[in-house]
């Protein structure tokens, strides 16, 4: 009776499960302009909010006069800190254990800080009124340099000192200066100093990882709607972590959590910028409560670049010690971290410098020490992880530059230096000197594959010839070979050591199978372009044997989705992806019992086969998952509840550690400083590969943002604290014009502790890409004596490097 065709392979292909280069299901909407972003939300009677912002980087707010502003037709209210104070909402907690002014409370600490919130019937009236709010400021000395901040008598945060002007303890322990936020130490300082003292070779370098910004195409925004009849607040917003936002809103507003519904609709890119809580969110909520009408707030591009979370701004000094033949013996790292006016970093609570302690990289470094000092300055708050896990780009940049610096000191090939120091395959799980347990890796295989793919020796020979030709005056172009081997740490994380505001960083998936054999799965994460609706359906398809095309993935609505900590730090696949697989397995376990009942055999006598359960040894006797789904709703099966649903909350036992080997070949015009990227090869090992097409897309995107950061993108301040790069005229956002062709490659080393062996990939290309582009620039000038020059390597800075090295004759 039963037909054995199609074959298991054909049936598996029909599912479009794991490993399938399935087209993104989201794109049907997005390519037809049918996305639904925060600014697309229009509600009856909706009001619009806009901020009066400080032109000063540091000033006292003497007075605020909104009389003229209130005369603008359509203006409903002008809200100031004085209005918020009775509600206790003039300050809000930050994710880093600090607090931040919602609206200027007596002073401003950075240019663009929110001073007053104007609410009007339309955006234009609000914008007109913003210009008419008269604010009297009294200028204060501006500090934009963290080293100066630590020496200065100027106290930026008067709320953090006692009556004698002495710094009170912060969220991360004692502070040694009023402008100091924390010191965070990892590893063994004394042992590291001892290793350095005895070492045959020690290389030292200081580097500045400049301040930049995630700059998502969609800026941040929210729509708050308080229903005064039901007492229910609905809040739409650009939230990378909607559930955490709901909890925070409940805690600071006093509205019970069941009366708050937070919805993240489509999000046009986050890259870390949409993790934090912003004044605009709070003010839209307050304005809606006060007016009883929906209130929308959407920032413009300048506001986004100037005020909502920046990334990096790390001054890093390192020492790396080795034997004469290049075996690394120790690593010492100190970071001065510029956090701006408030410590609004987005890191797990116990990690004020994120996972910076992954800075021993992919190398077997027996002894290491890291110390990070956080500092207040008159710059915008933030310090988010821009397309990377918490501070991992900083860590990887640091170690990959230190390796190059050591190679120069040893007069050794940097590829070989990496090779002899890699953690060996048999050393995994590997305990690092700074506290991590690397779950898995096979670095030598990946590195050798990369070196062979690009013909590394051939490239070096070509480079040597180019240097000769340059010296002989035959060319004005130099060639750089940028190398990087990175190890990321993603998938935060185990609840035992990872939480944000006390919320454990597990994640979740809830699945409902419908009677006709299709399904909906809801997750605690939220896609911002990563393609969750595509890939999570593929995980499920393989786990439960229903076609991915029959599975809807839904995220972002706290009234329907199970609680989760959201999407950032490449945590969706490692954590929510694991929850999805685990929930799928619960479905499968129940399906097995139903199948056994229908086939009239014992539970243990049936086994799962792609899209069905078959009787062991008699594969012609089977029930498809579709049949089982229907049976779950129409058969009275003894001992089994009707329905087919499951939920899983997954607390990962460890982080995952994706890695990769990147090579960039660059030609630099010495006279113009223009770099031409001739070749970029990226080998990624993200463990089990769910959708190769999405992986490739993620790698292209991450590399492009890496190119941006390495070659020009920055948030620069002048001495007065003016943001000099507040528009896309000055802030570099690469287009297809600047982007080279990327070659992608892979190895597969599954994570041993993840249910499907996946590790996450969205951020790897950024983490590995930045040092790779930067190392290429450095390498081009290595033969002429360059050891270190700071990013971003824009044309002018590259030209200046060449000029400083005397290459302009």
């Amino acid at each position: 009776m039963n037909d054995l065709t199609p074959t298991p392979e054909e049936r598996a292909a029909n599912l479009k499960g794991m490993g399938c280069a399935r087209k993104r299901v989201e794109d049907v909407r997005f390519t037809q302009g049918r996305g639904n972003y925060v600014d697309d939300i229009k509600l009856d009677g909706m009001l619009f909010g806009d901020f009066v912002r400080s032109p000063y980087a540091h000033a006292r707010v003497v007075s605020i006069n909104s009389e003229e502003a209130m005369k603008v037709p359509g203006v409903v209210a002008v809200i100031t800190a004085a209005d918020l104070e009775p509600l206790g909402l003039h300050w809000m907690p930050t994710l880093a254990g600090d607090k931040q002014m919602v609206l200027a409370d007596g002073k401003v600490l950075f240019q663009g800080q929110e001073v007053a919130f104007v609410v009007a019937e339309d955006r234009y009236a609000a914008a007109d009124a913003v210009e008419l709010v008269e604010v009297e400021y009294e200028e204060l000395p501006v500090i934009v340099d963290p080293f100066e901040a630590l020496k200065s008598d100027v106290v930026l945060r008067e709320d953090t000192v006692d009556a004698n002007g002495k710094a009170t303890d912060g969220a991360h322990g004692p502070r040694n200066h009023p402008n100091h936020i924390f010191t965070w130490e990892q590893g063994d300082e004394a042992a590291t100093e001892a290793v350095m003292a005895e070492a045959e070779v020690v290389a030292e370098e200081t580097m500045y990882y400049h301040r930049t910004h995630p700059c998502p195409l969609e800026t941040c925004g929210s729509v708050a709607s308080m229903d005064k009849v039901t007492g229910k607040l609905t809040l739409w917003g650009t939230f990378q972590a909607p559930h955490a936002i709901r909890t925070v809103v409940s805690l600071i507003s006093g509205i019970e959590e069941h009366n708050i519904r937070v919805i993240s609709p489509d999000i046009g890119g986050g890259f870390g910028n949409k993790v934090g809580a912003y004044s605009g969110y709070v003010c839209s909520v307050v304005a809606s409560i006060v007016t009883g009408k929906p209130v929308k707030w959407v920032e413009d591009r300048m506001e986004n670049l100037m005020t909502t979370a920046f990334a990096r701004d790390y001054w890093m000094s390192g020492k790396i010690s080795a034997t004469k033949d290049g075996k690394i013996t120790g690593l010492h790292c100190h970071v001065t971290a510029d956090h701006g006016g408030f410590d609004a970093c987005a890191d797990p609570t116990k990690f004020p410098a994120g996972f910076m302690n992954i800075c021993t990289g992919s190398y077997d470094i027996p002894t290491a020490y890291l110390a990070v000092d956080g500092v207040y300055t008159n710059k915008a708050p933030g310090g988010v992880s821009y397309r990377c896990s918490f501070r991992v780009t900083e860590a990887v940049y640091f170690i990959e530059r230190m390796i190059e610096v050591l190679a120069i000191k040893l007069n050794m090939d940097a590829a070989e230096l990496r090779r002899i120091n890699f953690i060996k395959k048999e050393q995994f799980p590997y305990q690092s000197a700074l506290g991590w347990e690397y779950d898995s890796g096979d670095y030598h295989t990946a590195w050798d594959k990369a070196m062979e793919a690009v013909d590394y020796q051939g490239l070096r020979a070509e480079q040597a010839q180019r240097i000769e030709d340059f010296k002989a005056g035959k060319t004005r172009s130099l060639m750089g070979i940028g190398l990087t081997f990175f190890t990321e740490i993603v998938g935060a994380g185990p609840v035992k050591n990872c939480d944000i505001l006390g919320l454990g960083m597990f994640d979740s998936c809830e699945i409902r199978i419908h009677p006709t054999g299709s399904a909906i799965a809801r997750l605690g994460t939220i896609s911002q372009g990563q393609g969750h609706a595509t890939t999570f359906a593929q995980i499920l398809a393989s786990e439960i044997g229903l076609p991915a095309d029959s599975i809807t993935i839904e995220e972002g609505d706290t009234d329907t989705a199970p609680y989760g900590l959201g999407t950032y730090g490449s945590r969706s696949t490692p954590v929510a992806g694991a929850a999805t697989a685990m929930a799928g397995r619960k479905i499968r376990a129940k399906a097995q019992m139903i199948a056994a009942y229908l086939l009239e055999v014992h539970d243990n006598d049936v086994e799962f086969d792609v899209d069905r359960f078959v009787v062991k040894g008699a594969p012609e006797r089977f029930k498809t998952m579709k049949e089982i789904a229907f049976a779950a709703y129409n058969q009275a099966i003894p001992g089994i509840e009707p329905g087919l649903e499951a939920v899983s909350y997954y607390d990962p036992p460890n982080m995952t550690y994706p890695f990769g080997a990147y090579v960039c070949v660059m030609d630099i015009d010495v006279d113009t400083g223009v770099p031409e990227i001739r070749r970029f090869y990226a080998l990624d090992d993200c463990g089990t590969r769910i959708n190769p097409m999405i992986i490739e897309g993620q790698i292209h995107g991450g590399l492009t943002e890496a190119l941006a950061v390495a070659l020009g993108q920055e948030i620069a301040y002048d001495e007065m604290g003016n943001v000099k790069t507040g528009t896309l005229m000055d802030f570099f956002l690469p287009t297809s014009w600047e982007v080279p062709n990327y070659e992608t490659d892979y190895t597969v080393t599954p994570s041993p502790h993840h249910p499907i062996g996946a590790k996450g990939v969205g951020e790897s290309p950024h983490v590995g890409g930045v040092p790779c582009f930067s190392n290429a620039v450095h390498d081009a000038f290595r033969a002429f004596g360059l050891t270190q020059t700071n990013m971003p390597h824009d044309h002018w800075r590259i030209w200046k490097t060449a000029n400083d090295l005397g290459l302009h004759g």
């Binding site: 009066v52 100037m306 003016n722 000055d730």
Partner: protein
Amino acid sequence: MELKDEIRISAPRDVVYRALNDPEVLKQCIPGCEELEQHTPEHLEAKVVLKIGPVKAKFAGEVFLDTSGAPDGFTLKGEGKGGAAGFAKGGAEVTLVEDGAETVLSYEAKAEVGGKIAQLGSRLIQGTAKKLSAKFFAQFAEVVAEQTAA
């Protein structure tokens, strides 16, 4: 930002000096000037509408003059606030040298700007400032020449 220039005006030095201190003349010559009030010979207050790139705003400013060097020149410093658009402050040194019946006016100005004009208009500020001062002195030379002729 620094500005430096030299203008030749067809009028004797004392006429030029007087005109430079005459609120009525200044009001005619300052581009976008809506109000100019002289509280004392050393203290003026003005309202000026300025457009720098995409930012247009009314600046309320105060100017303090140091006339101790008269009539060889004077120094001034001032500050203007444009609300949401930002602020500007700076100073200038103006020198007047007689050259026959004409006067050579040279100036060196330094200015700092902050707020939106600094961010949005940073690449336009120097150009705009040059254009505005050129406009001012062209108008000034004309007004002074007319007065002299009259």
